[in-house]
Amino acid sequence: MIGIGIFLLAFMFVFAFIPGLFVPFVSNSDELTMTADRTAATLVDDTLALHDGSGVYPGILDASQINAFASAVNNPAQYNQLRAGLGLNMTDSALYSLEVVISWQNGSTMDIINSDDRAVTLIGNVGQSKRFVFIRDPSNPADYPGAMAVLKVRVW
């Protein structure tokens, strides 16, 4: 009886312990990943996309929209509205932080991030989504067809 008791106890212990061994390798950032994908899609296909008389060009970004977006991110009131519009608010008080990094073909990068978000330590899960875009300045015909860039959206 004592023997089987110890045996069952050891068995229970192993059962309770083994899932813990794998915890560091299990990602629970699925939600963040999906949020990042959705945010990237909204930005690339609509918010930052080039608009003209004949419609929207998903994947082709307007340089002036990017500048407007960057200044909105650093304006607290506009930033809250922007995040609400992108569906980045979990509750009224807790909002996801957002970072957009644009790497141009010529090697230059643009890092769009709110200064408060930068202060948030990057411990924990971060969702990232990567998109390939063309960035065009419609007011500058010499710029056509625009510069290629990779846009990374990070959410945490």
């Binding site: 690339v44 994947g59 989504s129 015909p141």
Partner: protein
């Protein structure tokens, strides 16, 4: 010999068997993680690759080469036609500095397509193949595949992105020897541009 230990020993037997099976299952799942095994490429990495591939083809296809004429050929189509006409359907491979043919001398004619591939994929260490699929001349609806850029057989974790373009008889010679003229009208053929991407 008669006693009452049968039940306990049965439970013990079942539990012991379960532990053995459980241990085996863990061993089988863990030892196979090598850089090339199927669990190495995360589902999200695949999704990212596919996004980049789709973006690459769709942005090029949405960019007419002539700014003032929205009906002019897209950069994607121009890239394919450039390859067909100037490179004469040669298969190219990335050699770390350029796309070269099998003679290691002929370099692929530059287009926005090759520039985009170099920037978005080569520079990020993504391996890719670029192929064209089009209807064969004979009836029967068979499809033919021609390799444009071939960097080897894709891994089993590859993803594909494709985009259809239409070639007219103005774009490509009517008596073209590779892509057959599929119709008697000015339509030459509908071609699927297929990009296969994988992480090396």
């Amino acid at each position: 010999m008669r006693d009452n230990r049968g039940q306990i020993q049965t439970i013990e037997g079942i539990v012991a068997a379960f532990i053995v099976v459980f241990a085996l299952a863990i061993v089988v799942q863990t030892t196979s993680v090598t850089p090339l095994s199927s669990s190495f490429t995360n589902q999200h990495i695949k999704l990212e690759l596919q996004n980049v591939g789709n973006d690459l083809l769709s942005t090029l296809d949405q960019t007419p080469w002539n700014r003032s004429d929205p009906a002019s050929a897209s950069e994607l189509k121009l890239g394919v036609v450039t390859w067909a006409v100037f490179d004469n359907y040669t298969m190219f491979t990335w050699n770390n500095t350029a796309f070269v043919a099998s003679d290691h001398i002929t370099v692929m004619t530059d287009s926005y397509l090759t520039k985009a591939l170099k920037f978005a994929l080569v520079a990020n260490g993504t391996a890719f193949n670029l192929e064209l699929r089009y209807p064969d001349a004979g009836a029967g609806g068979n499809m033919k595949t021609t390799k444009v850029i071939w960097n080897g057989d894709p891994s089993e974790n590859s993803v594909t992105a494709s985009r259809y373009i239409t070639l007219s008889d103005d774009d490509i010679a009517h008596q073209d020897h590779v892509i057959p003229d599929y119709s008697s009208t000015s339509l030459h053929a509908t071609v699927e541009v297929r990009l296969t991407l994988w992480v090396m």
